[in-house]
Amino acid sequence: MAADKRNRTMATTMESVSASLEDYLEAIFHIVAEKQAARPKDISGRLGVNNSSVTGALKLLSEKGLVNYSPYDLITLTREGKTVAEDVVRRHEALRDFFENVLAVSRPDAEDAACRMEHSVSRNILNRFIDFTEFVEVCPRGGTKWIAGFGYYCEHGSRRANCERCISRCLDEVRGKKPEEKGAPRMSISLKDLKPGQKSRIVKVGAHGGINKRIAEMGMTRGTLIEIERVAPLGDPIEIKVKGYHLSLRKEEAEGILVEVV
């Protein structure tokens, strides 16, 4: 209940502080943390804005009672200002960590996105972000390796076919066996996800239904080099060059064919 009430008061305060003013509060908070007090020059340097806009913003903030400010004096946060600033910073950090650790986004990108999102995310959602980050790190079905897998997933898109390999590797680890790794592990991906012009080597023909044999009989056997020629105008069947001739397959049929890009 108490937390709820606090949330509500926070929300009203936040509504009265615009997004850019929040940036000022945040900047002041960091400067104060470093130097006890802030000067307009510090603020303009940190935010990359000119002095006159800093003066205007400071006037607005002091009117709202968030900063102690008078011209030519040092600037500090009021008690209320400090609460708002701390909240903004907390949101920023939580978002940044989520982007960086869970979504596998690079640090500068994560900072940048956090800066822009921190103003609009509500506290409830923010708490969920924080909880989820912790859950992922703790849950045995998750773990850091799983997160790393997500990064790979994001780079290469969805493919079921890799699951088998991943799970067996996972089981190997659980059983204490070291997964066999020859140099850089080359992940095999589904033929469906290759782009026109990409050349690859077939690793396994494992399509669903009884058409494996048909596909194999058309020359799509293990180790064969193939090249994606093109995708049909309406986006479905794809054309593959194999053993010197052209073969067409639907994407659903190509899905089960694992290949290594060469």
């Binding site: 494996n212 194999a216 010197g244 052209h246």
Partner: protein, 840 residues
């Protein structure tokens, strides 16, 4: 023994040029049929070589012998069961590895094999060099290089065939080594097989064992439970070792064998570069241009089919018209001979009506043959597959459905390109829902009669769209109910583009056209006679109304009016010479109806009339009579000249040409009027009032008689009997009768309605018929008629062709029944709902 006829089976991949070689070998000595029980085409031909008779059996083109499709099973069964003396495998040398896969399987069967390396010129141009001797040793079969479309190598091929057939010792054929683990399992299964049937030779047993391991259902069904169990054990054992099913391992090893052989005996001297075909495809199947090019080509096919086909259609129509005319002269004019009616109306009318479409159909088949032989057909399927797959069909189904807009018959014949039987039947069954050209006359009659001008185009469009939607929905329903199952995989070769040979496409066209003609000669002939009988029998002998008296009454009324003309141009009121002259004319017309123009009776009647009029001319007031007749003739001539000019020069009202003809006619009439105003007025009155109203009355009587006759016939009675069933749809017996006629051919509906409504020879432009329809039916009923005609039982030609193509009366009758039921239910819903809502 040595003079025995040699039987050669021709095997090969699709697109390997097999049919070209077959044509080279056999020339015109071909026989096309079907393999018993299946719809796979069977072609046989014969030739002579070295004084030996050779029979060539063309096997269906396949990539493998795994019994994956009916074609593969048929090809395999012919090789195993019919034991041809030699199997010739046509190999596309420019695409060697995949083509050799089939060769290796034939080799495993252990039959005498000769390989024809076809398109060896293409292969050489691509810089591929073969060590034929080495390859021949690897594969255990002689190899003959050929160039099918130039007829090169045919003689050498026949030499090799004769040599292989007459060889004393068995051909030494290598076995493929499937690797230690697989070979162990093969031995186990072979041992089990051997104990059960000791007589089989070792090679065949090994083949059976391999096929069992490959999971071949056809072979598996034929072996005992024990063998099946051993096979299953072996399979799971191999799957554990390799992580792949045995069938994949075996395919892998076969390709391994092939690439091993190719590595040693084939050398590619030029780096693979983009061929002409690749460059065409870069445009023809590109994301941007692929669809427009496809649609453009389809439009072109349609356009050519219907525009180029028009003139010969006219000739055929004329020919049948002439033939009917000639036959008619065998009987006296106006004869009611049943035989004449059967020949002229039944047989020539029915069969002629179907043969008229032959030019269209031949052109369509020509276009399809060109598209197929050039390799574009596979691209069309490639482009359309996404759409067709959504309704559970294969990309190749698109072409037949598109052709359905022209005529269902060639459309259903075009389903032959579909490999999967389920896809084929589905496409065949729903194609009649696509509104064909023959249904257009029905819409053209009804829409202008019931709907205002601004609704014409939207109405027509709606009907066509309803057809398309129904076809799509039905296809989807069929694929999820009766023809449920995995949709056919789209594992399809896109063969290189080739310039089709004239001989090839003409043969293709002719084969299919011939089937169509044969159908016209058999099934359609039969149904035509049946329908003719139904609309002609039983003959009504005593009529409800006395038409003879009615005709005479009309005649008397006419003559009465004529008598009234006497005073108008200075003839004595009591004079009967004018009446007698007109009477003489009417008598002549009645007499002439009984004779052909060429018969003496025809001219004699005219002579009698002339003599009678001449005699009348000498009587009192004869000069006035002659004047009257003369002026009347002059008016007729002037009008006829005008009509003739309009018809001949196709003049349109409002154009200068039309105006000139018009004013010429008016001037002539004005001159006549000036010279003899009284006579002119009387003649005009005679022509425009008396004569025309008499003709109208006589025609009405004739039509009423025709209508009564039709109501009495079987189809009229069926129409009446159907009335209770058709009532809920808003239809009466007249529509019922016309619908029976529509079964012969959809456009007959219009003619039949014309007869029922006694407006004589009606076509879709008949305003008289439209007026009568408007008086009897509401727009809602009119819409229901169109809906019913669109959906209901396709015409007899469609049913006949479905029977032929599906090889079963069952499917043909199912199509007939299901579509009729669909039409009934749909129309019922629309009519009842519309009535409740108060539409129309």
């Amino acid at each position: 023994m040595t003079r025995k006829r040699i039987v050669v089976a021709l095997a090969g991949n699709p697109n390997s040029g097999k049919s070209t070689i077959f044509n080279d070998l056999t020339g015109a000595h071909q026989h096309v049929g079907n393999y018993p029980g299946v719809t796979v085409e069977k072609k046989e031909g014969a030739c002579r070589h070295d004084g030996r008779e050779i029979t060539v059996v063309d096997l269906p083109g396949t990539y493998s012998l795994s019994a994956y499709s009916i074609e593969e099973l048929v090809a395999r069964n012919v090789i195993i069961d019919e034991k041809p003396d030699v199997v010739v495998d046509i190999v596309d040398a420019s695409n060697l590895e995949r083509n050799l896969y089939l060769a290796v399987q034939i080799m495993e069967l252990g039959v005498p094999l000769v390989l024809a390396f076809n398109m060896s010129d293409v292969a050489r141009a691509r810089g591929i060099e073969f060590d034929l001797e080495k390859l021949s040793r690897f594969l255990g079969a002689p190899i003959v290089p050929t160039v099918g479309h130039k007829g090169k190598g045919t003689k050498e091929l026949l030499d090799a065939v004769v040599a292989a057939a007459t060889r004393k010792t068995a051909q030494d054929m290598p076995n493929i080594d499937y690797g230690r683990e697989v070979e162990e399992e093969i031995l186990k299964i072979a041992a089990a097989l051997q104990t059960e049937a000791s007589s089989a030779d070792a090679r065949h047993v090994r083949w059976l064992a391999v096929k069992l391991l490959e999971g071949d259902k056809n072979v598996r069904e034929k072996v005992s439970r024990t063998v099946q169990e051993i096979t299953e054990k072996s399979e799971s054992h191999l799957a554990k070792i390799f992580g792949d099913p045995a069938e994949i391992i075996i395919t892998d090893r076969r390709y391994g064998f092939i690439s091993g052989a190719c590595q040693e005996a084939v050398r590619s001297t030029v780096e693979a570069r983009h061929t002409m075909s690749d460059r065409i495809d870069a445009v023809a199947t590109s994301r941007v241009l692929g669809l427009p090019i496809f649609l453009g080509l389809m439009y072109l096919v349609f356009h050519l089919t219907f525009t180029l086909g028009d003139p010969p259609m006219g000739w055929i129509e004329k020919f049948f018209g002439w033939l009917g005319g000639v036959l008619e002269t065998w009987w006296p004019k106006g004869s009611e001979s049943i035989l004449k009616s059967l020949l002229v109306d039944g047989i020539i009318g029915g069969v002629g009506g179907v043969i008229v479409f032959l030019p269209n159909i031949l052109l369509l088949f020509l276009a399809i043959a060109i598209l197929e032989d050039s390799g574009y057909m596979a691209r069309a399927a490639f482009i359309m597959d996404r759409l067709m797959h959504k309704i559970g069909l294969h990309g190749k189904s698109f072409i037949p459905m598109l052709l359905g807009f022209g005529c269902s018959v060639p459309a259903i014949m075009a389903t032959r390109t579909l490999e999967n039987q389920r896809d084929r039947l589905t496409t065949m069954l729903v194609t009649p829902l696509i509104s064909c050209g023959a249904r257009l006359p029905i819409y053209a009659l009804i829409i202008p009669a019931f709907f205002p001008g601004r609704l014409h185009a939207p109405m027509l469009w709606t009907i066509y769209i309803i057809g398309i939607v129904l076809a799509i929905v039905s296809a989807k329903v069929l694929r999820t109910t009766i023809f449920r199952g995995e949709s056919t995989p789209f594992v399809m070769e896109l063969p290189p583009y080739r310039i089709p040979t004239l001989k090839g496409i003409l043969l293709h066209m002719w084969e299919r056209g011939w089937l169509y003609l044969k159908k016209a000669g058999t099934v359609i002939l039969g149904i035509s006679i049946l329908l003719w009988g139904m609309t002609n029998f039983p003959k009504k002998q005593t009529f409800d109304r006395d038409y003879e008296t009615q005709t005479r009454q009309a005649e008397a009324a006419c003559l009465d009016d004529v008598r009234g003309l006497n005073s108008k141009f200075g003839l004595a009121t009591g004079s009967d010479i004018l009446v007698r002259a007109i009477q003489a004319e009417l008598d002549m017309a009645a007499e002439q109806k009984k004779h052909h123009e060429t018969e003496p009776g025809f001219a004699e009647a005219a002579k009698r009339k002339d003599a009678a009029i001449e005699a009348l001319g000498r009587q009192d007031g004869g000069d006035r009579l002659m004047k009257f007749l003369e002026v009347r003739q002059a008016i007729r001539d002037a009008r006829a000249a005008f009509d003739g000019a309009v018809l001949e020069k196709k003049l349109v009202e409002g154009t200068p040409g039309y105006f000139a003809a018009r004013s010429g006619c008016d001037a002539a009439l004005a001159n006549l009027q000036k010279a003899e105003p009284e006579v002119y007025a009387a003649a005009i009155r005679y022509l425009d009032n008396i004569r025309s109203s008499f003709e109208g009355a006589a025609e009405d009587v004739a039509k009423a008689r025709q209508a009564e006759e039709l109501a009495y016939t079987i189809s009229g009675r069926i129409g009446h009997a159907l009335e209770p069933i058709l009532k809920p749809l808003g239809f009466d017996w007249k529509i019922g009768t016309a619908l029976i006629g529509a079964f012969a051919a959809k456009e007959v509906f219009v003619a039949q309605m014309g007869i029922v409504y006694s407006v004589g020879e009606a076509d879709e432009k008949s305003e008289a018929l439209r007026e009568k329809l408007k008086a009897d039916y509401s727009p809602l009923i009119a819409f229901c008629i169109m809906l019913f005609c669109l959906t209901s039982a396709p015409c007899m030609a469609t049913i006949a062709i479905t029977r032929r193509e599906s090889n079963s009366w069952g499917w043909a009758l199912f199509q007939l029944g299901a579509l009729t039921v669909l039409a009934y239910v749909l129309t019922l819903c629309v009519f009842q709902l519309g009535s409740i809502l108060g539409i129309g």
